[in-house]
């Protein structure tokens, strides 16, 4: 049986032109595929170009070489099949929580009268049914992430791209959000590409963990399958023996890259 490939990066290279005219290659020859219904986490040291790779899959960045295919079709422009969860606050500050969620449907032309009840339903399913009238600045960081999640999911995208979405949250809130994400994902199993710097989070959530080397010109240097049973509870799964074995195995590879990335960033600072 072959499941269709949702996202395929084929030898993708992403480069930026720097202010002084030099070209900075963020990611080199990245080869990565995400099958339909598969949850893939990308982990790597700071500045390794994980987010860059994600933006290439979203169509926000165009690869300098190689190709991005979405459901076997070359991606031109923005990826219309994907929902994107940003690391920074991306809600519209001038809209209430309800309007922020409803806008996802309104853009597609759904009449407001139809969009609002659905938005309310989504807010309830992320646990914010009572906060519909609040503006983003009246919500906590975790609540804002919940609204953002509802805003993305209400459009029912086939692919979810997540850029360290829980990065700014505190440790407990992250775990709660992780469980919420898994619950929602279990309902219809979208293809997920999840970027994080937290290896534990990656193993707890994903079916596959992909490791990237330290930048610049970072590459994908490892790809592990996570065999832990689903549905998972993030709090429980961290106590699992298999979890620890896998964590030790991946960390032995990741550790060198983290040290390399750290050394480079300090050297760069000294050079300045």
């Amino acid at each position: 049986m072959t499941t269709p490939t949702a996202v395929a990066l084929e030898d993708a290279k992403v480069a930026f032109r720097l202010g002084d005219g030099r070209v900075y290659t963020a990611v080199e020859k990245a080869h990565l595929s995400v099958a339909q219904g598969e949850f893939v986490a990308i982990v790597g040291p700071t500045g390794c170009g994980k987010s860059t790779l994600l933006n290439a899959a979203a169509g926000l960045l165009k690869p300098a070489a190689g190709s991005v295919k979405i459901f076997d079709r070359a991606l031109a422009g923005l990826n219309r099949d994907a929902g994107y969860l940003f690391q920074a606050d991306a809600l519209f500050p001038w809209k209430t929580a309800l309007d922020n969620v409803a806008i996802g449907l309104e853009i597609k032309g759904t009449p407001r009268a139809e969009a609002l009840p659905q938005a309310q339903k989504w807010l309830t399913s992320v646990g914010l049914g009572a906060f519909a009238g609040r503006y983003p600045h009246m919500l906590s960081g975790g609540q804002r992430k919940r609204v953002a999640l509802a805003q993305v999911l209400i459009r029912d995208p086939k692919i979810l791209l997540m850029d360290e979405p829980f990065g700014p949250l505190d440790a407990q809130t992250r775990q709660v959000m992780g469980n919420l994400l898994l619950d929602l994902w279990n309902a219809d199993r979208k293809a997920v590409l999840f970027v994080t710097h937290d290896l534990e989070e990656a193993i707890a959530l994903a079916d596959r963990v992909v490791i990237m080397s330290a930048g610049p010109s970072s590459r994908i240097i490892g790809d592990w399958r996570v065999q832990l049973a689903r549905p998972r509870d993030i709090f429980e799964v961290r106590l699992d023996k298999e979890f620890h074995a896998l964590h030790r195995e991946i960390w032995s590879v990741l550790k060198d890259e983290v040290m390399k990335g750290y050394a480079q960033s300090t050297q760069a600072a000294e050079a300045v």
């Binding site: 926000l60 994107y84 809209k95 597609k108």
Partner: protein, 261 residues
């Protein structure tokens, strides 16, 4: 500090100032009146002049004219500022070409324009409106320009990823962002609309608060000048209060305006 105490202290400042003014303009100190009534008048005369204006109803006509000129200047200046600000922010080439001219026009003291406007538009309300517009326009223009250019990159990307077309981005992202910047300068721009109107009236007109002050000054009626100034201040405070109410309604989503909410 409670609101009552604060208000009491604020009133106290006014009472002390007026009492000192009355004292020094009527009681000789070491055989000399420090504030000669010819130059400084005194609170009693000023107050009776204000009462006379309101009792006879003369003042209403002048207030209405000034208010009307301020409103027109504010509306026309704001609409112009929003449109041009938007256009410049979305077309960097246009903005770059016009940049030196915008700076030149903004650096020009508006008072020198007043005679020209009077020449072009006559001594009626429109020359005053024009003067107010030149003041309001630039404030709104700079704010909207800034507002559109400084839309958060993430919010913009989010809009794009949610599938917004350019027109939807305009409506749901650029427009609210620009408006919020415009409203944040509401106090300044409304204030300048009034300044434009009054200065215009002062320099040549047949009605309005500026005209009233100028007339009194022409006959060395210092009490009239002070009375005009007090009515003008009260007028501005009332308008400013109205603006605060509007702002509170329009900017509920902003943490700075309603931090306690």
């Amino acid at each position: 500090m409670s609101r009552v105490t604060l208000l009491a202290l604020q009133v106290l400042v006014a009472v002390v100032c007026i009492a000192l003014w009355q004292f020094f303009s009527s009681v000789p100190v070491f055989g000399k009146v420090l504030l000669p009534p010819f130059f400084f008048s005194n609170p009693v005369d000023v107050f009776s002049q204000i009462v006379k204006w309101f009792a006879s109803g003369v003042i209403w006509k002048h207030l209405a004219i000034t208010l009307w000129e301020s409103i027109l200047a504010f509306v026309i200046g704001s609409v112009g500022g929003v449109l041009v600000g938007f256009w410049f922010a979305r077309q960097p080439l246009v903005a770059a070409v016009f940049d030196p001219y915008v700076k030149m026009a903004n650096a020009l003291p508006r008072v020198v324009l007043a005679p020209i406007f009077a020449l072009w538009l006559g001594l009626g309300i429109w020359s005053k409106v024009a003067l107010g517009v030149t003041l309001v326009f630039f404030i709104v223009f700079f704010n909207v320009y800034q507002g559109v250019k400084e839309v958060s990159r993430t919010v913009l990307d989010n809009g794009r990823m949610l599938g917004m077309s350019e027109r939807q981005l305009m409506r749901h992202v650029y427009w609210p962002s620009a408006l919020s910047w415009m409203f944040s300068s509401l106090h300044t721009s409304v204030g300048f609309a009034v300044v434009g109107a009054v200065v215009g009236e002062y320099l040549g007109s047949a009605a309005g608060l500026g005209y009233l002050i100028q007339q009194a000054e022409g006959v060395f009626d210092v009490a009239g000048v002070f009375a005009g100034m007090f009515v003008l201040s009260a007028f501005v405070i009332l308008i400013d209060f109205g603006v605060t109410l509007v702002e509170r309604r329009l900017l509920v989503w902003r943490p700075t305006v309603d931090g306690r909410g």
